[in-house]
Symmetry: C2
Subunit: 356 residues, 2 copies
């Protein structure tokens, strides 16, 4: 069966402020040393498995030009723009309708656009296994990441090691972000995986489940499909999307449907969820510092310093994140990385949109 | 007797990098909120006591123009430029010779150019008392600051409360920077003062003591005086200054001479020795932060943040100094303020003089 992919690229990436901005979110940035952006990596990574013309990007209108610039070989009509954000279920449904309009049925790989994967060939093998499971029946397949530390910032997937389908295992349940004690228990248990937000299914399977579990959304998606290629395409998309309820694929479908399978993967995955991730994914020096730019450090350790041409002198720092851009400078204690959103709230309240 | 003053303004002010630079040291900056520079404050503060034409600045050639710009009412010939730095004894001697060339004898107030004084009229009263003591005999008078906390970064002066001369007291000895335990003892004892580096004496008295204790320097100073106003003035100054030994007034004269008196003063004095002083002298907000510029703070306390137009977001910081300038940014833990000089050493070693 034809293998297609859809990449979700509508996120704002606020947690990488001030490098990421509303006008240039994380997926369109390079956070590694090589200058390749995250969405470019996401696309090129799957090219051994999926033809370029079968890769769809779902994003919002503000980012269409960025996507076209960064992915010049992608057909323009494969960049689907949501009129408004309605979480992942309508987003996946929109891509499924476009793919379903092109092929009678097809396998559909669903990927976030802003994750990092170190070992591409291992990742591709996991995708191949997932495709095999998804093709075999009406299975919804997700990729789970084998934990190697007790992360409290991810959701987990509990699987049943005794219920296998190819290389996949039956999902018992999805569990919320745990506290540290629970996360340690999950790590030791070895039947819990991190929920990566990557899925593989047939177009026909996911659409049938959307019809079953979120029928109103399905009805709108059908109208959107019928308008594809017509003069009303944009107007129908706008009208129907506005009406849909916000719903995630996880809550709306995965936690309710049967035949949910997970494939455990270990391929150097990182969701790059905050500046802290930069300390994991970039090379650090002997003092544990991750440094980029024109930087002098004195008695400084375990810090992340990212600048431009301006000289940055870091003296006596420990566990501090410094991000300097042309118009904004962030200095943040590593333990407060989550509070960066408070800076953005403050900026929004004060209507200082030039910095957002 | 005529009252004159000499202000020492040759310092590099490295501890205020990156705001202070070799080309714009601390005494030519405003570290308070009012935009008046420290040397301007130093001059205007004594004008009730000293005529402008009797105020001399001793600095080095690099700063002559800055001094003229910032002190346009000061006669150009009152800005004396040391060809090389030879510490404070030759510096004071040079000014004494110029004042002695103008007046038969005069009182001479010696002041650093980069200290802060909150209560000017109290300070002037102390100077008046010092002038009275200095005029009365062959007395070397220094101003001591009554300690209000056990500072370990200053030298102290032990005086004898039973040996008074006007409002001054006989100095028993000068003591080095103490450890905390000793500083606490000094504070409790009440016969120890901080050594402020401010002096009052007659020109004839200090020159007699330079002749007695540093005769080679005195011989050079005499030649420099003889050349004042002649074509050889600059050449003689250059040649004789080069030959002089580096010697401070404290070690070279004050610790050896007799008739040393100290006047205790409390007039809101701060030597503004490092960025930490900014937290003392500027207003702090309810979180203990001292903030200047375009700054957002989130969960940040006891920090000093000084920027320009660029947005600075400080998140989760505690006891951190942030100083942003057009070409250099410092982020420094308060406990490591002394390590800023290591940044400058590094810059010198790497020959990056544009940042020094």
């Amino acid at each position: 069966m034809k293998v297609t992919a859809m990449i979700m690229a509508g996120g704002r990436g606020e947690r990488f402020w001030p490098k990421s901005r509303k006008s240039l979110p994380k997926q369109f940035l390079s956070l590694t040393d090589d200058g390749v952006t995250m969405i470019q990596d996401t696309v090129s990574r799957i090219l051994p498995l999926v033809d370029m013309e079968d890769i769809y990007i779902v994003t919002n209108r503000d980012y269409k030009e960025l996507a076209m610039e960064q992915l010049p070989e992608l057909p323009e009509e494969n960049i689907l723009c949501e009129p408004v954000g309605r979480n992942t279920a309508p987003c996946v449904g929109l891509a499924a309708m476009h793919i379903g309009n092109k092929y009678d049925d097809a396998l559909m790989i669903v990927l976030p656009s802003d994750h990092l994967i170190k070992y591409n060939s291992m990742f591709l093998n996991v995708l191949r296994d997932a495709c095999a499971v998804a093709e075999k029946g009406e299975n919804l397949t997700t990729i789970g990441i084998t934990p190697n530390y007790p992360e409290t910032g991810y959701g987990y997937i509990k699987f049943d090691p005794d219920q296998s389908e190819g290389r996949a295992y039956g999902v018992e349940r999805f569990v919320e972000k745990p506290d540290l004690k629970t996360a340690k228990k999950y790590l030791a248990d070895e039947s819990y995986l991190w929920n990566s937000g990557m899925f593989v299914w047939k177009v026909s399977t996911i659409l049938a489940d959307i019809e079953k579990y979120i029928p109103n959304t399905y009805a709108g998606l059908v109208k959107i499909k019928e308008a594809i290629g017509t003069e009303e395409q944009d107007a129908v998309l706008e009208a129907e999307f506005q009406k849909m309820e916000s719903e995630s694929i996880d809550y709306g479908i995965m936690e309710k449907a049967d035949h949910i399978y997970v494939i455990p993967g270990t391929f150097g995955w990182d969701d790059v969820g905050s500046w802290l991730a930069v300390g994991r994914i970039r090379s650090t020096n002997e003092f544990g510092n991750t440094v980029q730019g024109n930087v002098i450090t004195v008695e400084t350790k375990n810090s992340i310093i990212e600048g431009t041409d301006k000289l940055i002198a870091a003296v006596g720092l420990k566990d501090i994140i410094v991000v300097d851009t042309d118009d904004a400078l962030l200095i943040c204690d590593k333990g407060h990385a989550g509070d960066i959103k408070k800076v953005l709230e403050n900026l929004r309240i004060c209507n200082r949109n030039e910095y957002i």
